[in-house]
């Protein structure tokens, strides 16, 4: 609330009275100064005029008749008038008579009135009569008027003070009421007595009293309602929490509760208990039986005194024993658990059901549910009821996988299953497929096409890798030898460039298939290519042959822009991570714009990878990207399907 609205009513009213007083006073002063004084002066001047008019004809006729003695007599008569201070008679500009009243004026001020004297009955001016009229009366009236004004001011001041007193007195009951209500509390109503004689204020006081009673009643009702609601909300919240963290069937903590608890778990035995052939129970006795058995098993596990028991899912329970275990002691504990379950009687209606369970467990320093799950799967695989997680399983698995991949690569090379796929590069300016990026694929014996993501990092550590690169180079050059309107790009790693035999092979193939002006070598920015002089030498040699150079995945690392100029790069392939969300992330847009702008200034063309939809495609086009590539344009295809026209071109093209 503003200060203005907080100003008290009495202050406002007294303010209005003060303003009114000032206005009245100003108006009075104005009238006094501009009219009062003038009116008084005019009255006195008129008197002087009247006297002059009375004497002027006599003086005129005497002057006319040349009766100088009579003129003097009249002037003396005139000067003896009590209001006259003096009289002067002029003929032309010459003063011919001058008389002063012996009785001086009080103030010395006079009102001068100059009247022409004419020949009686004619228009000839005989002279001028100057009357010096005493201003005593005027000054006296002025003093009286000033005194009256002062009396008026004093009266006005008294009136103002009286009004202030009156306003404050009349409004005091309201102020008192406001002060009382300032500390109002619905629980402790303020006692308000009718103190004002004013009917309106008295009505307000009564109304406030009535209002207090009603507020008190409503407050009491609201308090009861709030208490009731608070209890209901509390109960409901508790129920919801229980529902959220409790399994409704068994009453045990559910998987959500388990996942939160496990975040704080360290040394412990964590075991998953899974009912064997639970589906058979459901099938034989029905789902009601299954549910009943699950409840009974939950109760059994709870009764066994474990630190925690959870129902993780369907027929799986998780138990936690918070203490350190060795493999042996853990196995003893798990056997004891399994046997205890085996001995227990589970029944549905009149049917007794025997339960067998499989248990996978972990006693790692920080056991995880994944480890226990892995152990359970291993137990199933090995058809044993109990299994403890072993950390060696992961290394062994990876080693085994590597052996399998190397074997796969070897056989694939031998059987010609290292093949080349091509993905189109669409030129947004020329509105056509300008060329293709050649991609390595491994085709398994079952026909599954495997992306290099799965095997290339491993392959680069073997002596098979140079041969794999050469396969791609050979197949690509052979395919594009006769397709002279298309370019093709081949990814080369630093390993490839450092391998002189591979480089020689590449040069031979370029020459053999005459593709030097259409082949583009894509180098990965992330491989720190600028650190290898061999890379610079290779680039220079290839550029001399007419080949072009592209930097792949640009923008992911600490991009060193200077080497782009050193290597005389022809294309920048902006990394997919910058492109795929460019239509909805302003930061990515700014980075990409910077790269595009920079590239264009160096006369380097830009390629947007990972163009996955129309919006990205439109955005890339709008930002000035030269070439787009991605699944939205077309997916990578084997060479024999490469030039099959796509059924529906994307809208953005």
């Amino acid at each position: 609330m503003s200060n203005k609205s907080q100003r008290s009513l009495s202050t406002t009213l007294t303010g209005y009275v003060a303003i009114m007083g000032i206005v009245i006073l100003s108006a009075t002063f104005f009238l006094f100064e501009h009219y009062g004084k003038k009116v008084l002066y005019d009255i006195e001047k008129e008197k002087a005029d009247l006297i002059t008019q009375m004497f002027a004809p006599q003086i005129g006729v005497n002057l006319y008749l040349g009766m100088e003695d009579r003129v003097i007599e009249v002037l003396e008569q005139l000067v003896h008038q009590k209001e006259v201070a003096g009289v002067n008679l002029y003929r032309g500009s010459e003063k011919i008579h001058s008389y002063q009243n012996e009785k001086k004026t009080d103030t010395g001020d006079v009102i001068k009135v100059l009247t022409p004297i004419y020949q009686p009955g004619g228009t000839r001016q005989l002279g001028k009569l100057e009357l010096l009229y005493k201003s005593d009366n005027y000054q006296r009236m002025l003093t009286q008027l000033t005194r009256m004004l002062l009396i008026f001011i004093v009266a006005l001041a008294f009136f103002y003070l009286f009004m202030v007193y009156l306003i404050r007195r009349r409004l005091y009951p309201l102020k008192k009421l406001a002060n009382s209500l300032a500390n109002y509390d619905a629980q402790n109503p303020v006692s308000i007595e009718r103190s004002s004689q004013d009917r309106e204020i008295g009505q307000i006081e009564e109304a406030v009293g009535t209002m207090q009673e009603k507020i008190g009643e409503y407050t009491e009702k609201l308090t009861h309602m709030n208490e009731s609601l608070y209890t209901q909300v509390e109960e409901k919240t508790k129920a919801l929490w229980e529902q959220l963290y409790t399994d409704s069937l068994t009453g045990l903590p559910n998987r959500k509760a388990m996942m939160e608890d496990l975040l704080r778990l360290d040394t412990a035995l964590l075991a998953i208990v899974n009912i064997d052939d639970f589906t058979e129970i459901n099938d034989l006795y029905g789902h009601h039986a299954g549910d009943e058995i699950l409840k009974q098993l939950g109760a059994k596990l709870t009764s066994m005194g474990f630190d925690k028991v959870y129902r993780a899912s369907g027929d799986e329970y998780v138990i936690v024993i918070k203490k350190a275990f060795t493999s042996e002691s853990a196995m003893i504990e798990l056997k004891r658990l399994r046997e205890a379950i085996g001995r227990s009687k589970f029944a549905f209606e009149e049917n007794q059901i025997d339960l067998r369970v499989s248990i996978g467990a972990s006693i790692e320093y920080v056991p995880t549910i994944e480890q226990a799950d892995m152990a359970l799967k291993e137990a199933r695989k090995q058809r044993v009821p109990l299994m403890l997680f072993s950390p060696n399983w992961r290394l062994e698995k990876r080693y085994k996988e590597n052996i399998e991949w190397i074997s796969e690569i070897k056989s694939a090379l031998k059987e010609g299953r290292i093949v080349t796929y091509g993905q189109p590069l669409y030129d947004l300016r020329q509105k056509r497929v300008k060329g293709y990026e050649m991609l390595m694929r491994l085709v398994k014996r079952d026909g599954t096409v495997v992306s290099p993501f799965h095997f290339l990092p491993l392959a680069q550590k073997t002596h098979y890798y140079p041969e794999m690169t050469r396969r791609v180079v050979e197949q690509s050059c052979a395919y594009f030898a006769d397709r002279k309107d298309l370019t093709f790009s081949i990814n080369l790693s630093v390993e490839d460039i450092l391998n002189t035999e591979t480089i020689e092979f590449i040069k031979t193939k370029i020459e053999e298939y005459h593709v030097s002006n259409r082949i583009i070598f894509e180098l990965l920015e992330s491989e720190n290519i600028e650190l290898y002089p061999e890379v610079a030498a290779f680039v220079e040699e290839m550029k001399n042959l007419g080949c072009q150079i592209a930097i792949d995945d640009f923008g992911t690392g600490y991009s060193n822009f200077s080497y782009l100029m050193t290597l005389k790069v022809d294309f920048l392939k902006i990394d997919g991570s910058l492109i795929k969300n460019i239509h909805r992330d302003r930061n990515l847009e700014v980075i990409a714009e910077t790269i595009i702008d920079f590239a264009h200034k160096l006369n380097i063309k830009t390629v947007a990878e990972f163009v996955s939809n129309d919006q990205v495609c439109h955005k890339a086009h709008q930002m000035g990207v030269d070439i787009v590539q991605g699944y939205h344009i077309d997916e990578p295809k084997p060479l024999n399907e490469l030039e099959k026209p796509r059924e529906n071109l994307p809208v953005c093209l």
Binding site: P57, Q58, V61, N62, Y64, L65, G66, M67, R70, P120
Partner: protein
């Protein structure tokens, strides 16, 4: 012969009235001006000369001539913008056939004064008198010079004379004789 002339002169001097030169001068200067204070005087005398007749006894012939000369000197035969003629005539010669715009009566017997007044009244013109006492015989206006100059106007004679400017009435003293 010289004796005869001397006796005649003496006799003339014995029978002639005495005049106050100052009063004559003042009256000669003021009476014509009073004449100009008649209402509509100028309109009534369009291009017609204003005539003032000095009436006197045969013995005051010399005084009358002096008065005429004096007035002519003062006014130069012009009263305002009008031609001004000053004549003199004796009480014996005056009759109703004589035309004048005002009469200035020097000293005379009661009969002579009344005779001149009758003539003036018939013409409805003012009668200025040298002697204040002559107002009693019907003179209209008299002038005395004592402590100050005073103009008197005979209220009873007013029906026979034209109206004067109000300013004149403010300064004159009315008398009822």
């Amino acid at each position: 012969m010289r004796l005869i002339v001397s006796l005649l002169i003496l006799a003339h001097a014995v029978w002639a009235y005495n005049y106050n030169d100052i009063l004559l001068n003042v009256q000669s200067r003021i009476y014509p001006k009073i004449l100009l204070l008649e209402e509509n005087f100028m309109q009534r005398h369009q291009n017609r000369p204003v005539v003032l007749t000095v009436v006197h006894e045969k013995e005051d012939d010399g005084i009358a001539a002096q008065v005429v000369q004096k007035i002519n000197e003062i006014y130069g035969k012009k009263l305002g913008d009008l031609p001004f003629v000053v004549e003199n005539i004796t009480f014996d010669d005056i009759d109703t056939h004589h035309r004048s715009d005002a009469y200035y009566l020097l000293k005379g017997s009661e009969e002579d004064i009344k005779k001149a007044v009758q003539v003036a009244r018939k013409q409805k013109v003012p009668v200025f008198v040298y002697d204040f006492d002559d107002l009693a015989y019907g003179g209209t206006i008299a002038l005395t010079v004592r402590r100050t100059t005073v103009i008197y106007m005979n209220r009873k004679a007013m029906p026979w004379i034209p109206r004067f400017n109000q300013a004149l009435y403010a300064i004159v003293r009315f008398i009822d004789v």
